[in-house]
Symmetry: C2
Subunit: 215 residues, 2 copies
């Protein structure tokens, strides 16, 4: 049972290196929100919390007019400090149950899972799952091995929650993931660091629309 519905269709995970700096991140987030991104996540593993807080505040202000929720990766305290729309945790972060207790029932809570064992252990507190990496990815050095579309489909079928696919996803390879049951796809380098993030987002959105219709 999902507490908080969220449109996972085109889920942008911001990468501070690919976006170069805070200004680049904020600009990318704005262009993505204008052109069809449905969720934005702030993820900056190497940053100190002061920098997280500043970025999160700016992103929240930029995304709010579009009604695009801002999800904070891992840093529950930053999410609380800026009253973000939600939190996304991984298997090495605070357990989902702890995160839910801290953020309360009205915020979105996402959890990353990579395999059937992690899927079986997902608590009720979670709103959606991030499953991946589905394809090989260069933007998360500590990611698990890629599931591929077939195993991804099995995991989605076993999941009782909406699923966003993540890992190496772009416009050219996203369709099979929707066919396999994904509610959405999370992208990093398919938008961050692209010469024209607005156009990249709009094209992704078109492809996602077609893929969802064909389902």
């Amino acid at each position: 049972m999902s507490y908080n519905p969220i449109d996972l269709s085109l889920y942008l995970v911001l990468d501070p290196d690919l976006c170069r700096d805070l200004e680049g991140m904020v600009r990318t987030a704005r262009l993505a929100a204008e052109n069809g991104a449905t969720v934005v996540q702030l993820r900056a593993p190497g940053w100190k919390r002061r920098q997280w807080l500043e970025a999160a505040r700016e992103l929240k202000a930029v995304l709010a007019p579009f009604g695009v929720p801002l999800i904070i990766n891992d840093h529950v305290d930053v999410a609380l400090a800026i009253d973000a729309d939600g939190v996304h945790v991984g298997q090495d972060d605070l357990p989902a149950t702890e995160a839910r207790r801290l953020i309360g029932p009205d915020k979105v809570l996402g959890l990353s899972v990579s395999n059937a064992a992690e899927l079986a252990a997902v608590p009720q507190d979670v709103d959606y799952l991030g499953i991946g990496p589905v394809y090989a990815t260069g933007t998360k050095p500590d990611a698990a091995a890629a599931t591929g579309v077939s195993l991804f489909g099995h995991l989605v079928a076993a999941a009782r929650l909406p699923v966003v696919a993540i890992g190496g996803i772009n416009g050219g390879n996203c369709a099979p993931l929707f066919a396999a049951g994904a509610q959405g796809v999370a992208v990093v380098s398919a938008i961050c660091g692209q010469c024209d993030p607005a156009r990249a987002t709009a094209e992704l959105r078109t492809r996602i629309g077609s893929a969802k219709q064909r389902r």
Copy 2:
């Protein structure tokens, strides 16, 4: 005005590398609490939050019987999750005012300052200050330049809060810091990684007692 009084006399900052592993940290904390440490801080910059949470839970359980408060460095969410006694933030962490808002009025809040400008900007939300590094230190690679005893004394005189000195402190060099107005000294390698942490703590405690009497 300090909200929450705390005995800063002998403030142990745990170092996961010097203590080797979680078991070593817990053992060190217990021996230190048994032998006169008055506060213990968990600080593990390289750790994932899941590990922080486990360590914090174990440390809280070990320290509680001694009435020794457990302070969590930087990770306000971990502190909230385990209901720790307090939080210590640095200049790159969540601002003290945000941290206070998240932990509430009844928890201890410490803030690190290294110079007069940082001292002048300390908000009312803080219970105590960590001032340093007073001596050169090997356990915090990103620390500022050492203040030395003289500048430390000037900073303490200008501070309106209890001060714990930190940075390169051991039994042999702690006395001048009390003479300069410190309420306590924070130590890392003077206890963590010592062959006999119990004896090291007891000896420090004796020296601190003498230094405080001579003031």
